[in-house]
Structure formats: structure tokens, C-alpha cells
């Protein structure tokens, strides 16, 4: 929008900007290029940042504070290590401590470690170990102590054992030979009688990241999966994942996947959630683990057993599962509803996604002749949004600031899904004094979306206050938000004008960023609501003088060019800018100036002729911008070569005003839909698709499981009903989903579903087999089209444009027996059914028709606008229908549209 407004007034430019806007979303390759940038930045670090001296003293500081009691070697006390070390040289240390290389420290540790075997005091032993680990975590390479450390691995003290494991895992990758030496100990430990030790050893063994060790690890892993202790099993399951990433062939050979599926029945929920996580990651390319009804219900029935993070693994599966029927969908929702009352924000968000996905699966779609009372997808989604509104806002306001930020983004996306849903909570989105700036900015942007006739006066007043905020970005965003409210006219009657007046006041405010933003907002406003020109025209010439920011200046120039007719001083203001051409730096301003002057020339030729000439000279000689140069030449030649100035005028002064259409930048319904599939992920925060910020290899596609999942009769996956489990569930007051079908038998499809599914395929493929006009006539009773309708081309276009693409009904391609030879025959046969042709044409591969018809009804005649495409080979027909006016009841509309489709099909009976 911003780019557009400072642009010239013809369609070509508009297209160019659209293209630019598209490319702005950018290729993922940019991450690659920026990596280079990153390294550059890196090398610019001040030397002291990495300097060995700093490092040394830092390590000393850390050690000093970490060991007040001091080990045998004695450490300088905390505080100013440099001076204190110098003064007392505690424990035989002198000032050389800080200049000495790190080698000395490591050697000293080695000496200490050698005394380890003879040391009797447990605490002293631990302290020696701690020291080694402390050095390690500081980034000092202590890998030379590997042998000494491994000697300590045989101990009964778990604290020491854990430290040795930590050391081992850290250096195994760089010292594979040494690490291999201690494998035996680890394998032995993984058979220890203490489950704690077994688990620890197993985790260490799998974390070594040594491919050559696979042969040693796979056996203990397999054993661990049957271990009696859940801790070991849980660790073993994660170990499988580590092995998978290390060596896939070995992984496949061991058939661990099947074992994991079996383990979904494990009595311990932490094992189950690990299984789900591991399976999801292993089967990433297919979108995650395979899922069927039995598994899903089994997991859902146990959902109350899971821990706060474990529950997420189950909740995250739900969006990929399509409920067998509506009832099951509602049962799942009822089961999960109590989650919304908890303060566990991650579970609440996962539940929201699950709910929206269930709504998507069980809601009625257009073209679905299910019970007319059953709710549609959109109705259900709206109900879901209403249900989750209060809990989400509570989480947002009670959580940490980090959580607030992320949840604001979630709310933002849900508003896109169901506009108006959060309007009544708008006060919760007021900027608070204590908010961090990124939260404030998000709130200001969000508030604009919450405006409706009731809330707008308050919101606009609040924005008006924020404009003067000390934070420049806040001021800018507040102006933009006000502009957005006016642009979308969500504020009710008179709102547009009152905002326009406020913006005009801001022009005179003498704060550079505010007046510039106000000018830009006004330029957008003038295009969408041309009647606001009257309010803003007077101060424009004066604003041009003191607006300094390029964007704002370009906007004012655009306005002067576009509406210069009615502004007395317009040419003279522009002339001053032209006289000052050499001082303009910004290309955008120059381009806007060129376009504005040319436009104004046609309205007020005598005043503009000379200045236009001067501008052409300047601009064609200007080498700073190729684009500007070319445009100037283009205008110049156009004016010179054309015999009839009126033709040129009609091209150039085509108004950019677009009171009904959407700005190209705002038409992002496709992106919004894509983002909705990825709700509750980073996409929601960044507002872009995963491929824009995630490496291809790491993208997990969102794949729903097929609707029915027939199980073989001996399916190993059938859930084992566990009375104990259900008892717990009942006790917790949670609803339990009853298994309707036999445990292992494939669930027979419910009849309702069958009809629904067939219907989804749409408009009956069997239908054309009996294309009897009689039968269709029977169903045509309620639809009667007017016999004579006239519609001009422009009216057709604006009607078409007024119906959003989202509301259009698109039929699937309908096979035809033959394609028509010419458009005339088709038009004639359609006309007998009162369907008229606006335009038609033949393309190499297809015929295209723009058809229309007007209904005779109580609502003053709704128009049907139809775009029909007939492919020549293979012959097929697809229709896109938009309904404008007519019966406001969506179900009636749907019926009528269906009838219309039948009517068209029957009229084309000779081809279909």
C-alpha cells in the first residue's frame, strides 16, 4: 500500500508493485547468504571479546566464586581475583596465575586426578571432579584428562558417576578411540541392578554420537525396552532416536519402529509420550507417525495420565486425525475441554489447534447435503474461537512477558480466522506502561483489528494519545493503525471522516515521523474513500513544505497530482519541489513527482506546461535511477507522439481510486490459510510460511491421516482396554470416549459418513449419466431466471469484484463427451435457459465463457456470475460461480447455486 501510493497512476505500475510485493516474501536462500554476513559480523568483534586474557580471568572469577571452600589446590577467593591473587597468593598461587597459559591449570588438575584413587573422603573426590567439569563448561579443553577421568568411572557414588558421564559425552566425538575404551564399562553399567544406573549408562552410551559404536549400543537398547523400570524404558526409547540419527541402516535392520508402535501401550505415560515423539521424528517425511482410530482413542482415553509436557505429544497428534463421525469429533472436544481451564498455556494452545482441526473435519462444507441443521466449518470454527477467547486472554495477561508476546501473535492469527471475535476484549489489549516495547508494538497493531462501531471511538482516541509517545516506532504504528481502521471502514458511521480529520491535524504536528506517516495514511485513505479528499486537500500544499521523510513527501506529492484539480495551489507547490529537484535524494519522491506532474498537466495544462518541461529535462538527465529515467522518457515520448491528447489523458489520468476493490497487499487470504494449517508454530509468530525460515530438510509437512484406517483383524495396534486406566479417567472427572466398534475389528464406516463422503465428491458423477432435462426441470422449481437481463461489462466486472474469491463456488472438472466446436452454439443453448453470455473466447486449449443470469425472487434479483472453462482435450467443464445479492440465507443460496449448476449442465446436454 505504501509503495503503491507513491507510485504513478496506471495499472502497469500497479502490477509491477504487486510483483515486487510477491517477491518480498523472499526465497529461503537468503538465509544462506546471510550466513556469510554473520561471519563478517563475527570477525568484527573487538579483540578483547575473545582475548585469552579475558578468558583466563573470567575462568578464575567463575572458579573463585564456585568454590568458596576451595579444593586441595586452593583457589583465590571471589571478588577481584586479579588483585587478591596478587596480594596474598593464596594456596601457593602468585600473580603468574593469570598470565600462565591454560595448560598449567589442566596439568594441575591432572595431578589432582592422580591422587583421586587414594583419596578417601567422598566430598574431596567430588570437588576434584567438579573442578574438571567447571573447566569444561568454561570452554577450556580438558580432553587431555580423558584417561584419568575414565579411571574414575568405576564408582558407587552416583554424583561422581554422573560427572564422568557428562565429561565423556562432551569429548567422545572428538576422542572416539578413547571413548571406545570405556564402552565396556557403560555396557556393564546398563545391566546394573540399580535402575538409575541402568538409565544413566544407557543415556550416556547413546549420547556418545559415535557411529562405530552402534554394534555395542543396539543390544543394551533392545534390552532396555523390556526393562521393568519405566525410567530405563523411557531412556531407551530416546536412545532409539539417537541411534536413528547415527545410523539409519542399522536402525532399519533392528526393526525398532514396530517395537515403538507396540510400546504405545506401555503402562507408563512418559514412555508413551517418548514413543510418540520418536515415531513422529522418525516418520517426519510422512508428516509424523501413522495413526489410526484405535491408537488415537487409546491415547485420548489415557490423556489424564500424561505429564504437563507429555500431554502435548498426544494433543499434537489430534490435528492429523480425522474423526470417524461428527459425534466422535464432539466427544474428543468434550474430553479436551477441561484442558482449557488450566494454566498450562502450551496445552491450551495445542488444544486450540486440535479444536480448529476437528471443526475443519466435521463441519459441513458447501456442497454437502447433510442435515441442514448441522453446523458448517465456519460456524464451528467460530464457536471454537468463542470458547477459547477468555482462556487465551487470561493466559496472555497472567503469563510472563515472553508468553504474552507469543500469545498476542496467536490472537492476531485467530482474528484473521474469525474477525470480530476478540472485539469485546479490546481493553485487554491496551498498551501498558510496564510492557516491553515489542509487546506494545504488537498491541498497537492488534488494536486496529479490534475496531467495530462500538469499540472504534475508544480505540481511535487511544491511538491518538499513543501518537505522541516518546517511542518513535510506537508513534508510527499508532498512525498506521488509525489509518487501517479508516481504510477498512470498520469504525461505523462517521469514523472514516473523523480519522481523516485527526490525520490532517497530525500533518501539521511538526513531528517528522508523525506527519510523514499521517500523509501516507491519508494517501491510502483517499484512494479507498474518495470523499475524504475534501477534508485533506487544504493543508496539503503546506504539508509539502515541512514533511521531510521521503515516504511522507511522496505521499503528499501523489495526492497533489491525483486530486490537483480541486486544490488551487497544487501546481505551484509542485513547482517549488521541481525547482529544488537537485536536492531530492530519494528516488521514490522523484518518481512520485514525475507521475504527479504529468497527471496534473492534463487537468491544468497552462500552469503545468513549463514546469513539466523542466522536470522532463531533469529526470531524463538524472542517472541515479534507471527506472525514473525510463519513465520520464516514456511519458515524454507518449506526449510527443500521440496525435490525440485525449487518448494520452485517458491512459495517464486513470484514477487510482478504488472504492470497492482490495489493495493487492491486503489480499493475503492464501497466506492466511497456509498459516492456519501451521497454527501454534513459529509460523504464527513470524507470519510467514515455514519454507521461509526453516531449512528444507527440517520442514515437517502437515499431513492428515486418511479418514478411515481399516485395521487388519490381527492388528497389533488395537488398544487393550484397561479397566484400571478408565477408572482413573473417570475418577478425574474426565469424559471417556467409548469404543463404539469391536476392539480389533475394522470400524465399519458409519452410514452418515458414507453419504457425506460421496457427497463431498460433489454434484454426482453418476448424475451426468441421466442428463434428462426433465429430471433437472423438476428440481428447478425454486430457481427461475429472468428472461431478459441487461448488464454492462463494467457492472459485470464490479459485481464480480465485489464478491470475494473465497465465497465463489468452484465445481470440480466435469468430464464432457465432446468439446463444442465453437462458442456460438454453447451461447445459444444457454440463452434458451436464460443464462446470458457477457464474453466468450477460444484459446488454444480451452473455451472460456463469462456468463450471468438474474434470478426472479423477492430480493430484487440476485445475480449469478459464472465463469465457465471448457477444456478441449480431455473435454471437461469447470465452473466458478459467484452470487451477488439475492437471498441472504447461505443455505438457500447454496441450493440455488446447485440448481443453477444442474441447469447449465442440462442446457449443455448435447456435450455432456
Amino acid at each position: 500500500m505504501m509503495d503503491l501510493t507513491m507510485d504513478m497512476g496506471h495499472r502497469a505500475a500497479l502490477l509491477a508493485v504487486q510483483a515486487a510485493a510477491c517477491s518480498a516474501s523472499g526465497p529461503p536462500g537468503n538465509i544462506e547468504s546471510s550466513r556469510w554476513q554473520f561471519q563478517q559480523v563475527h570477525s568484527k568483534f573487538p579483540a578483547s571479546f575473545f582475548g585469552p586474557h579475558t578468558l583466563g580471568s573470567r575462568s578464575a572469577r567463575m572458579l573463585g566464586s564456585a568454590y568458596l571452600q576451595g579444593g586441595p589446590g586452593g583457589m583465590p577467593p571471589p571478588g577481584q581475583p586479579g588483585t587478591s591473587g596478587q596480594q596474598n597468593g593464596a594456596g601457593g598461587k602468585d600473580d603468574s596465575y593469570f598470565t600462565e597459559s591454560r595448560k598449567g591449570e589442566v596439568n594441575e588438575l591432572r595431578t589432582l586426578l592422580r591422587t583421586f584413587g587414594t583419596e578417601k573422603d567422598r566430598q574431596r573426590k567430588r570437588d576434584i571432579m567438579k573442578k574438571v567439569i567447571a573447566y569444561m563448561t568454561l570452554g577450556i579443553d580438558v580432553s587431555r584428562l580423558f584417561t584419568e577421568m575414565m579411571l574414575a568411572i568405576e564408582t558407587r557414588d552416583l554424583v561422581i558417576k554422573k560427572m564422568v558421564y557428562l565429561f565423556l559425552c562432551n569429548y567422545a566425538e572428538t576422542h572416539p578411540d578413547l571413548a571406545q575404551m570405556c564402552t565396556n564399562t557403560l555396557v556393564k553399567d546398563s545391566g546394573n541392578e540399580d535402575p538409575m544406573v541402568r538409565g544413566l549408562a544407557l543415556r550416556a552410551l547413546c549420547s556418545l554420537r559415535l557411529p562405530q559404536m552402534i554394534e555395542y549400543t543396539s543390544e543394551p537398547l533392545r534390552r532396555s525396552l523390556q526393562d521393568g523400570h519405566a525410567y530405563v524404558r523411557k531412556t531407551g526409547v530416546m536412545g532409539i532416536l539417537k541411534m536413528y540419527h547415527l545410523n539409519r541402516e542399522e536402525f532399519d535392520r533392528k526393526a525398532f519402529t514396530d517395537i515403538l508402535y507396540d510400546m504405545l501401550r506401555d503402562p507408563d505415560s512418559s514412555v508413551v509420550s517418548n514413543c510418540i515423539l520418536v515415531l513422529n521424528e522418525i516418520m517426519e517425511e510422512e508428516g509424523g507417525m501413522a495413526l489410526n482410530r484405535a491408537v488415537m482413542l487409546h491415547l485420548l482415553n489415557r490423556i489424564h495420565e500424561f505429564s504437563e509436557f507429555g500431554i502435548l505429544s498426544v494433543l499434537d497428534l489430534i490435528p492429523r486425525y480425522i474423526p470417524a463421525n461428527d459425534e466422535e469429533g464432539f466427544q474428543i472436544m468434550n474430553l479436551l475441554d477441561p484442558v482449557l481451564r488450566t494454566a498450562n498455556s502450551s496445552a491450551v494452545c495445542a488444544t486450540i489447534r486440535a479444536f480448529l482441526s476437528i471443526a475443519e473435519s466435521i463441519g459441513k462444507r458447501p456442497g454437502d447435503d447433510r442435515d441442514p441443521d448441522s453446523p458448517t466449518v465456519d460456524d464451528l470454527k467460530k464457536q471454537v474461537c468463542i470458547r477459547i477467547r477468555a482462556p487465551l486472554v487470561t493466559l496472555m495477561s497472567s503469563g510472563s512477558s515472553e508468553l504474552t508476546y507469543v500469545l498476542l501473535k496467536y490472537v492476531d492469527q485467530l482474528i484473521d480466522l474469525c474477525p470480530g471475535i476478540f472485539d469485546e476484549e479490546y481493553r485487554m489489549f491496551y498498551v501498558r506502561f510496564s510492557d516491553a516495547s515489542h509487546i506494545k508494538h504488537s498491541k498497537v497493531r492488534l488494536l486496529a483489528k479490534l475496531a467495530n462501531p462500538q469499540t472504534a471511538p475508544d480505540i481511535v482516541a487511544e491511538m491518538g494519545e499513543l501518537v505522541a509517545d516518546g517511542d518513535e516506532t510506537m508513534g508510527r504504528l499508532a498512525v498506521r493503525s488509525m489509518g487501517a481502521i479508516a481504510l477498512h471502514d470498520t469504525g461505523g458511521q462517521g469514523c472514516v471522516e473523523s480519522i481523516a480529520r485527526r490525520l490532517v491535524e497530525m500533518l501539521d504536528l511538526q513531528v517528522p515521523h508523525v506527519s510523514s506517516e499521517a500523509a501516507t495514511a491519508l494517501a491510502g485513505l483517499a484512494r479507498r474513500h474518495p470523499d475524504t479528499i475534501a477534508v485533506m486537500s487544504a493543508p496539503l500544499p503546506r504539508a509539502l513544505r515541512y514533511i521531510t521523510e521521503p515516504q511522507g513527501k511522496a505521499s503528499v506529492i501523489f495526492l497533489l497530482g491525483e486530486y490537483g484539480e480541486s486544490i488551487q495551489e497544487a501546481p505551484y507547490s509542485l513547482e517549488k519541489v521541481i525547482d529544488n529537484y537537485d536536492n531530492i535524494v530519494d528516488d521514490g519522491v522523484k518518481t512520485a513527482l514525475l507521475a504527479a506532474t504529468v497527471k496534473l498537466f492534463f487537468h491544468r495544462p497552462p500552469e503545468c506546461q513549463h514546469m513539466l518541461g523542466r522536470l522532463f529535462k531533469k529526470a531524463t538527465e538524472d542517472v541515479s535511477s534507471q527506472d525514473l529515467h525510463d519513465r520520464a522518457l516514456f511519458y515524454y515520448r507518449l506526449l510527443r507522439s500521440s496525435p490525440d491528447p485525449d487518448i494520452v489523458k485517458s491512459i495517464i489520468s486513470k484514477s487510482m481510486t478504488m472504492s470497492t476493490r482490495q489493495f493487492a497487499e491486503e489480499d493475503d487470504s492464501e497466506l492466511k490459510a497456509a498459516l492456519m494449517d501451521e497454527f501454534n508454530t513459529l509460523c504464527t509468530v513470524y507470519r510467514c510460511k515455514p519454507e521461509n525460515f526453516i531449512e528444507d530438510a527440517n520442514i515437517v509437512p502437515f499431513v492428515r491421516m486418511p479418514k478411515e484406517h481399516p485395521l487388519p483383524s490381527d492388528a497389533p495396534l488395537a488398544p487393550v482396554p484397561d479397566p484400571g486406566v478408565n477408572a482413573v479417567t473417570d475418577q478425574l472427572g474426565g469424559a471417556s470416549i467409548t469404543e463404539q466398534q469391536g476392539q480389533a475389528a475394522p470400524p465399519p464406516p458409519a452410514p452418515a459418513v458414507t453419504s457425506g463422503e460421496v457427497d463431498l465428491l460433489g454434484f454426482g458423477f453418476d448424475e451426468p449419466a441421466t442428463p434428462a432435462p426433465v429430471s433437472s426441470a423438476g428440481s428447478l422449481q425454486s430457481l427461475s431466471l429472468k428472461a431478459s437481463v441487461t448488464l454492462s461489462g463494467d457492472a459485470y466486472q464490479s459485481l464480480w469484484g465485489s464478491v470475494p474469491d473465497g465465497e465463489a463456488i468452484v465445481t470440480p472438472a466435469l468430464p464432457m463427451r465432446t468439446a463444442p466446436s465453437a462458442t456460438d452454439a454453447v451461447e445459444a443453448s444457454l440463452k434458451t435457459f436464460n443464462v446470458f453470455t457477457m464474453a466468450s473466447g477460444e484459446l488454444p486449449t480451452e473455451f472460456k465463457f463469462f456468463l450471468y443470469g438474474q434470478e426472479e425472487d423477492a430480493f430484487g434479483g440476485g445475480f449469478f456470475l459464472i465463469q465457465a472453462i471448457m477444456l478441449k482435450a480431455p473435454a471437461s467443464l469447470s465452473l466458478t460461480i459467484k452470487v451477488s445479492g439475492g437471498d441472504p440465507d447461505p443455505t438457500k443460496r447454496k441450493e440455488k447455486t446447485d440448481q443453477l449448476i444442474e441447469l447449465i449442465k442440462s442446457s449443455l446436454g448435447q456435450y455432456i
Binding site: 505504501m2 516474501s25 523472499g26 526465497p27 537468503n30 538465509i31 546471510s34 550466513r35 554473520f38 568483534f45 571479546f49 573470567r58 567463575m62 566464586s65 566430598q123 569444561m136 563448561t137 568454561l138 554424583v159 560427572m163 562432551n170 554420537r209 532416536l241 540419527h245 504437563e308 509436557f309 502435548l312 481451564r341 488450566t342 498455556s345 502450551s346 495445542a350 477468555a390 482462556p391 486472554v393 487470561t394 493466559l395 497472567s398 510472563s400 515472553e402 508468553l403 508476546y405 485487554m428 501498558r432 506502561f433 516495547s437 515489542h438 497493531r445 475508544d458 494519545e465 516506532t473 508510527r476 511538526q510 508454530t681 513459529l682 504464527t684 509468530v685 513470524y686 526453516i694 531449512e695
Partner: protein, 493 residues
């Protein structure tokens, strides 16, 4: 889920670091990646480079900003990081770094708990996980500070091993972790911030700095859990107020965010029952019938809470988990009595002289008082000098008002602001130039911070807190506190 985890000190040093997935050979303790991350957080420039279409602070991801940044020679963007801080504000908790990973972080007590991920994970889950780690660390160390973390790093690595495996959360409940932990925490004396506390009664439950397991003190002496541990429970009813006044004292917006927070050191971990006002109504729509009752907009509960008696008796039952936890959160909007009313006025005495007076009235009962009250009035950048005088009623304690020439603002503080009193401050401000309407706009908004001990605005009450079973001779100490705090208490000028 996440590839690494790290804790950075306020200066950017890595205190704890762990790598879960190998990042092409970058070791856990190599500072390079955390250092780049820290610089990014500290000097946030409004955009994550190399991420087109990303959420820049200016909203459009417009090429303008990016191009300016790409070209360091362009004079319009100052190289001074301070300026960029001012322009772009604080770093959001989630952003992409040039290495292609998304970094997420939470800040607790000045420490940065951060991690990176290569997948398209749920940011809420990761933020929650990081907060949880911070909470667990606090429960085990007693306090959360750089020192306590450095001293207990072995314990924390031990905890971390159980909290996360290969980047996935495992055992995250404080009490469940006890079984896996063998190290003992070393207690660090909390940073003395008692100067801020006027009354020990206002100390919140979070001010209790005791690790959940037996610990050693800094001399290495053991403090046994059983002998030293008192049988006690701390309950806080904490309300944070956000109120916005117009310049004539009219309330434009008001919200209460409340919570009931607990810290239990009860022996044997008995089941507790907590009862709230019986007339508590939830949801704004159904409150019209009851005029007298307390109405909250919404309420949510901790996972551990059993709600079977909630609908009828407004009673909760639960087994308190170890450590600090929030039993429930609630929020209220709309009508409640603001504890303080602010009445500002500005008079132009001469063209470059202003007289600002601020009048504050405490509308709380006279047996209560506001503690640590501070009122800030931002003045125009062109302010040359300002002098303040205060008119205080008796009972007001530690009153001070001064002009901070560096920040160009007036600060008026009270140690104690008694209820049912009125206080006034007058300031004479001299500007370097004439006061235009634009300069006039730079004054304000007035921001007030305070704390009211043993008082809550919403009149939500804890009817009782009981141990569910009748255990003779079991007499725990109960510390129940009501505290009202300002979250955003602002008056427009």
C-alpha cells in the same frame, strides 16, 4: 525439539550450556553462537537479518530498513547501538538468527534462559519449557542468581539431564525430579533487597529462599531437611492493577490480573482445600443478576487442582506440588475502586515557565497504606530547570520529590502513603524556549507504582485453607498475605 540450551549472565557470559543435537561440530561450551545471540538481544535492531518478510518492528518488513542496514556507509542509521535500542526497543523473545535457527529466550532475574531450534516448533511450548527450567532451578537453588547458578552448576546439569533428553522435555515436576537428584544445593544468601520492604508482611511467597531439598550452606555444613524445616505454607493473593486515567481523573481502562500463589513446605504433603467467596461469579455476561458478588472475567487453574467442588462450593482441593506454584489466575475488568486517584494540572505562567501540580488521593481505608509509592512525571526535552515542593499530610513517611535532570522527569516518592489522605506536589518548570503545543504534549503521562500490603481491590477472599483430612496435632504455620501492586497505573496529561 530444541538443539541446545544455555543460561547467560547479564553480561553475556555463558553460565550453563548444553547441546542436544550436534550443530555441525559446535560444542556446547563454545561461546560463538551464544555470543552472537547475546549481541542480538542486547542491541536489538528491529529485524532478524536474512529473514525476508519477517516481523520487523516497523511492521512491513519493508526493504527500507533492510537496505539501510546492509549499507553501513549510509549515514541515516546511526551506528551507535544505543540509538538503535531506542528506535527498535527490546528484542522479542523469539527470532531467527543468521545461522538458520530460531532462538527463543526468557529473562529471569537478569539471567537469560535461551535455546535454539531448527524445527517449526510451537513457541509457546518452548517458552513454557524455558520458564519451567528457570522455576525448577529456582526451587532447587533457593534463589535464582548468577552466583547461585554458578555455585550449583553440577546440580543444575544433573537436573538438566533429567529435564530434557535429546531436546525433548522429560521429567519437569519439581517433586518428581527429587528421585533423580543426588547433589545437594549450596545455599547462596539472597541479594539483600530488604531495603525495599517496609513491612515484612508485604514479602511475597517468592521471598522465601529455601531449596526444596536438603542443602549445604556455603561453609559446607549440612542443613538437614527434617530438623530445620518448619511445617509451613505461604499463600499470596496477589493483584496487579492496570489503570488508565484521563487528565480529568476519569478512568479510561482498568484491569486486575490476580493470582493465588503458594509455596508449601508442609510435612507429608497432605491434601489441601481452599475455599473462595461463595458468591464468586465467572464471566461478565451473567453478573447482572448479582449486584453484590465478586465477578471475575475468567479464571484458570493449575494442573494439580481438582475442580469437583468448584461449581457449587467454590472450593478447590489439591496436593500442593513442591516449590512455588500458582494455584489459579484470574482477571477482572471494569468497575472497581481505584486505590489512588490522580489529578494533575498544568498552568502556563509565562511563555517558558510552567507550573505543574499533581494531586493524589488515596481511596483505601485509613488502616491501610501504600508502600514504596513512586510517581513519575516526564517533562519536555527542552526543560532547563525544575523545582518541586510537596504538601504532605501527617502520616506520610519518607516523602521526597526531585527533578532528575538527566531523564527530564520529576520523581515523587513515598515510603508510606497512608489511606484516606491527599498529597500534593507542585513543580515550577523552566523551559529553554516557549512552550508550544507540541512541547506541551511531551509532558506526561504520569506513571505511578506502589504496593499495598494486606489489601486487595477485587474483594476476592480466601474463606479458608484447610488440610483435607483431620490430623490431630498437625499444626502448620500459615502465612496468608494479600498484596495489591501496580502493573501499569498511568494518568494522561
Amino acid at each position: 525439539m530444541i538443539v541446545n540450551f544455555f543460561i547467560l549472565s547479564p553480561r553475556g557470559d555463558t553460565v550453563i550450556a548444553k547441546t542436544y543435537r550436534s550443530q555441525s561440530g559446535v560444542g556446547a561450551n563454545e561461546r560463538s553462537h551464544t555470543e552472537a545471540f547475546f549481541r542480538k538481544v542486547k542491541f536489538w535492531d528491529g529485524v532478524a537479518p536474512g529473514t525476508p518478510g519477517m516481523d520487523t518492528t516497523l511492521g512491513l518488513g519493508d526493504g527500507k530498513l533492510l537496505s539501510l542496514e546492509d549499507d553501513p556507509d549510509n549515514g541515516t542509521v546511526s551506528a551507535n547501538p544505543k540509538d538503535s535500542k531506542k528506535q527498535f526497543g527490546d528484542a522479542p523473545p523469539v527470532f531467527v538468527m543468521p545461522d538458520g535457527y530460531s532462538y527463543m529466550h526468557v529473562k529471569r532475574n537478569g539471567l537469560v534462559f535461551g535455546c535454539a531450534t531448527e524445527k517449526n516448533v510451537s513457541p509457546v511450548v518452548v517458552i513454557e519449557l524455558l520458564s519451567k527450567i528457570a522455576k525448577v532451578f529456582k526451587d532447587y537453588c533457593g534463589t535464582l542468581s548468577e552466583e547461585s547458578i554458578r555455585k550449583n552448576f553440577i546440580l543444575l546439569y544433573e537436573l538438566l539431564d533429567e529435564l530434557l533428553d535429546y531436546g525433548y522435555p522429560q521429567v519437569t515436576q519439581t517433586e518428581n525430579l527429587k528421585a533423580f537428584v543426588y547433589n545437594e544445593p549450596i545455599v547462596v544468601a539472597p541479594v539483600a533487597d530488604t531495603g525495599k520492604m517496609i513491612n515484612p508482611k508485604t514479602a511475597s511467597a517468592s521471598a522465601v529462599h529455601k531449596p526444596v531439598i536438603g542443602s549445604v550452606d556455603s561453609d559446607g555444613r549440612k542443613t538437614s531437611l527434617s530438623t530445620n524445616q518448619k511445617n509451613e505454607i505461604f499463600v499470596d493473593i496477589l493483584e496487579r492493577l492496570s489503570v488508565l486515567f484521563s487528565n480529568n481523573g476519569y478512568v479510561l481502562n482498568s484491569t486486575i490480573d490476580g493470582c493465588i500463589q503458594m509455596k508449601s513446605y508442609l510435612a507429608g504433603n497432605p491434601q489441601l482445600r481452599l475455599a473462595l467467596n461463595e458468591d464468586l461469579a465467572i464471566g461478565r455476561s451473567n453478573n447482572s443478576a448479582y449486584g453484590s458478588g465478586v465477578t471475575v472475567d475468567d479464571i484458570n487453574f493449575n494442573d494439580c487442582v481438582n475442580l469437583s467442588e468448584w461449581e457449587h462450593g467454590r472450593t478447590l482441593s489439591f496436593y500442593p506440588p513442591d516449590g512455588e506454584f500458582i494455584v489459579l489466575n484470574y482477571r477482572m475488568t471494569g468497575e472497581f475502586k481505584s486505590p489512588f486517584r490522580i489529578f494533575p494540572s498544568i498552568e502556563e505562567v509565562e511563555s517558558n515557565k510552567l507550573e505543574i501540580s499533581v494531586h493524589v488521593r488515596a481511596e483505601i481505608p485509613d488502616n491501610h497504606f501504600g508502600a514504596n509509592v513512586s510517581i513519575e512525571v516526564p517533562l519536555p526535552q527542552t526543560t532547563n530547570a525544575a523545582t518541586c515542593s510537596v504538601v504532605s499530610t501527617p502520616g506520610a513517611n519518607g516523602v521526597n520529590a526531585e527533578y532528575m535532570s538527566q531523564d527530564k522527569k520529576l520523581i515523587w516518592t513515598f515510603k508510606k502513603f497512608p489511606g484516606c489522605t491527599e498529597q500534593t506536589m507542585r513543580a515550577k518548570v523552566t523551559l529553554s524556549g516557549p512552550c508550544t503545543s507540541q512541547i506541551r504534549r511531551e509532558i506526561g503521562p504520569i506513571n505511578m507504582t506502589f504496593e499495598i500490603p494486606m489489601y486487595n481491590v477485587s474483594s476476592l477472599q480466601v474463606r479458608y485453607l484447610r488440610i483435607a483430612e483431620n490430623m490431630p496435632g498437625y499444626t502448620p504455620y500459615r502465612w496468608v498475605r494479600y498484596v495489591t501492586q501496580s502493573s501499569s497505573y498511568v494518568c494522561r496529561l
